[in-house]
Symmetry: C2
Amino acid sequence: MKKGEATRREIIEKAAPIFNKKGFEGASLSDLMEATGLEKGGIYRHFESKEQLAEEVFDYAWNLAMERRMAGTEAIDNSVDRLKQILRNFREKREGLVAGGCPLLNTAVEADDGNPALRNKAKRAMTGLLARLESIVEDGKKRGEIKNGVDPEEIATLIVSTLEGSLMVNRLRERDAAMRVAVQHLEEYLEGMRGS
Amino acid sequence: MKKGEATRREIIEKAAPIFNKKGFEGASLSDLMEATGLEKGGIYRHFESKEQLAEEVFDYAWNLAMERRMAGTEAIDNSVDRLKQILRNFREKREGLVAGGCPLLNTAVEADDGNPALRNKAKRAMTGLLARLESIVEDGKKRGEIKNGVDPEEIATLIVSTLEGSLMVNRLRERDAAMRVAVQHLEEYLEGMRGS
């Protein structure tokens, strides 16, 4: 990696918790300077604008989150068990993520007005996540592991809604109860989908 | 209502969509001046600070949302049917709300770092919503309308997680599908809770 590229990468990594915690609007230049240890010119030598930095930070944070959530699932043959592993990953694999919670939840809520580039990033991330879950359900139906009547798009949407909503509830509650309840509920629901 | 109080109320109503769409950080003084038609001094004659205005805006927006979501439910005797009415209200009664989506979702995600007063408002709102749903489940259990094994706190948490999460997914999708899927899923789940 060239030196310029390494610095660029370092700026993204250090700016990521700032954007993820404070949002695009809330992340100030002085926050970014403090986190990176660079002056304004040092940051913007590598990025055209705050928008561009924020977009690359989103990609970085989301790729990390997806890696964690999908970890070890390729090795699981049965599609229902694979979905259940994704639920468990969601609940348990939280170390190593960018601080500040799920970047998709943050960006969906914070960039829903007035920041079309970030919003498009979040839209594509959501579409990608739903498509990944849908394809697991579709494979499961083809192989008879999942009942024929099950609608892949509905299951994918329900999983993402329930998990992301439980993250939102958790932010306002002392304990992690909402995530536990969400995962247990979805596990039972997925069990009911198994083909005979 | 005295004139000062009427002006105060008008400022809250006009500032509400700004805060709800742009967040506390994103709502600038010039946005607030444009929305209210007042100069800075005209706004801050009635509020000590942007924080205070934002807190009162949250209360206003949340009260409106709760009114809509609970509308007509007192008249329904059976507790399961009452919960189902709340789900339908959530999906359908969206006119008259403050523009910018659910104020609880917005505030939970945007005020989770660095804005303790607003965060406390959101925490109390969440606690109140959960308590309201829990008490309906508890009443239902006492009257034998809901099975004995059902945990009121779990059901309340699951309902709020699933609905709020579906609002988040909806923000990034073209159609209203996530909300429809969430409500239908919860309706079926609540049906399964009925006592014999």
